[in-house]
Amino acid sequence: MINQQSPFIQKAASVTNIMLMVILALVPGLIFYVYFFGVGVLLNVFVASLTALIAEYFVLKMRKLPPKVYLSDGSALVAAWLLALSIPSIAPWWIIVVGTLFTIVIAKHFYGGLGSNIFNPAMIGYAVLLISFPAIMTKWPSPIENSLSIESIRQALQVFFYGLTQVGDGLTSATPLDYIKTELLQGQILPDITIRNFGLATILTSNQIISLAYLLGGIVLLHKKIISWHLPITYLLSLAFISGLFHLIDPNNYSTISFHLLNGGTMLCAFFIITDPVSGPTTPKGKIWFACMVAILVYVIRVFGGYPEGIAFAVIFMNICVPLIDNLTQPKVFGHG
């Protein structure tokens, strides 16, 4: 378009650049993911990206929007990556395709596309999968010794195309959150659970390192001012506070702060999911409220609810509250008392 009015100068990262930076910031986490759990996650990311781009293209065509402009904004890719990284790497291909289609077509474009989706698209896709296919969605891969060997790559491909049942269940375990929850329900206490299960300990270490890699990516985003500190910092502090409080009261039944911060996608959520600008609040105070509430909900759902991997529900629920939060947290305008 021809811009004939002031301002005549501009210096802004384009939407494309922002999305690209977000994707780059996910790479360290992805690398460690592959290192610990094999190439399955790469297949997830690849198929999700491909599905997202194709789905986005056709929807844009149908909506009579210029596909070139909108495809290059990179938002579909980011949603696809976030979804793919949330899904266990031992999920079969069709899970990825179904989840991505839901994310792009329904959660994003049914609500108006870029800028108009009131819910975080990746979280909608994830929630749909979690409710529809809980068995697949709560199985976590066991760490692999040599993740880039031909044998493990072959195995990953088999799982991806034929599903776990065809290949054998030996490669998997429940996610730590899910496992601990089940054990606790059976009357076990936390110190025993962690000591008894050696596999769990290795999963925990791997998860922690992947989480720290996401944290690193998140810090880069903070540094580049692509995200503001309000959301991730408040979220992590709130989750640390509430989990610390419960752990202090009853260490036998409530996990430690580090367990909550470094498991179940907490870091991914803190820096990449609740920071989605479209479905999140815009005011600084609103961001603090939003992140704090998500943290509380995440804890409540994990510890007291039926879905230990239920970050998605916390985010979706708070997405609904965004207009209200924004409305109630308007900053004071210059010169207004």
Partner: protein, 510 residues
Amino acid sequence: MNIIDTIFKFNGGIKADTKKSVSTVRPIKKIKMPKQLILPLRQHVGKVAKLKVNIGEKVLKGQLLAEADGNVSAAIHAPTSGTVASLEKQLIPHPSGLPDYCVTLIPDGKDTWIEKKPINWKKIDRKETIKKISESGIVGLGGATFPTHLKLNNNNEVKTLIVNAAECEPYITCDDMLMREKSAELVEGIRLALHLLGAQNAIIGIEDNKPEAIEKLALLIKNDANISIKIVPTIYPSGDAKRLIYLITGIQIAKGKRSTEYGMQMFNVATIVALYKFIHCGEPSITRIITITGKVRTPNNYEVLFGTPLSDLIIDAGGKASKNGSFIMGGPMMGYKLPSVNVPVTKAMNCVIDAEPEMIENNNPVLPCIRCAKCAEACPVNLQPQELFWFSQSNQFEKAENYNLFDCIECGCCSYVCPSNIPLVQYYRYAKSEIISDRYAKEEADIARERNDFRLERLQREKEERAKKIAERKANTSSDEKSKVIDEKRKAITEALERVKQEGVSEKND
């Protein structure tokens, strides 16, 4: 004298590439007398000046051409000696591109001054001095062009004079150069302005990217206990009046209030120098300093006579004064594209940028708002531009107003940082103008309705009055008289009827 360091930072603002240094390497330049000077009669806020000379009349430099029409207006003086050639509509530097009445003056080349009458301001009453200033043609030279004498005449007591030397817009350097080269006049002007305002102290607010000017001024005011310099960071829009006052004093001027209600008055440095020249030298406002920059070969500052063709300056600076060029008047953040390069220099013209094509044509696609709130982070008024955009584009003007649309100063910071490339300020201008025209239309409708109501009432009243009168008349004529009248009428009718009958008979007989 002292240099104050503490500042009160406002929200947001932007740190743009200022591009100022290109136009400060050479001293302020003058160009040779143009062939003609074109002086628009409206160069200020307020009423158009009234022409006081005849076509063909010879005038001297500094002679009054048009006088201020009322209090909110400013006079126009002859920038040089010569002949008044015409009064006609010509293209002026205005975004509308519409012509307006201008006086054309053909210089005689002699540049002969009219008799100068300096004012001994220390001896005469300051009200008197201010009255004289109202004839000087001085207006705010920072770009606002508000008549200066009005700002000197206050009902509120002014304690502090704030000298706006921030010059925060990128590209513009005319104030910086003025401070470097005319610092003595400026300081003398500040002392004068302090006297005229009856103020106790003056604070010069200046951005930290003008070290030379700061040094010169600091040296000159070292013995003035009541003048100080406050160095503010180079963050656009630090030069906006309310923002600068906040930076310096920490006081937020409330919406709809004037700084004088808080005991402060602000003048731009160029305005103060113009005051100095008028009072000390008896020279009315006939020149200003203007920055010519952008893609011209030698960006420069010029001290020019009002009415000088802009194209002369562009050519002198090594630019092409062609029709195809784009020229921005004012800064790149809040300026506007000139309709043509063939316009005269006016009192408001502080800077003209020979614009690169990419400044004018923004070919990046406009994407939907992703609510990243970068605009809110950049907004110096602490508004929520993303919400205002949402309401403006969907014509929810009432909501936009509730979100303080009218507090927006259109500084352009939001558009500057928008990753979706949305021309946000244009949306706000649109929403504002729609709301204002709605309001106007409503007022008109209200007036019309009132008039109609009044008319209906009047008609009703007249009807009632008439009915009353008839009734009164009826009541006045007594019943006796009435019957008498009726009898007479009846008699007349019967007589007439009989006459007709007889005539009819006689006709038949014929």
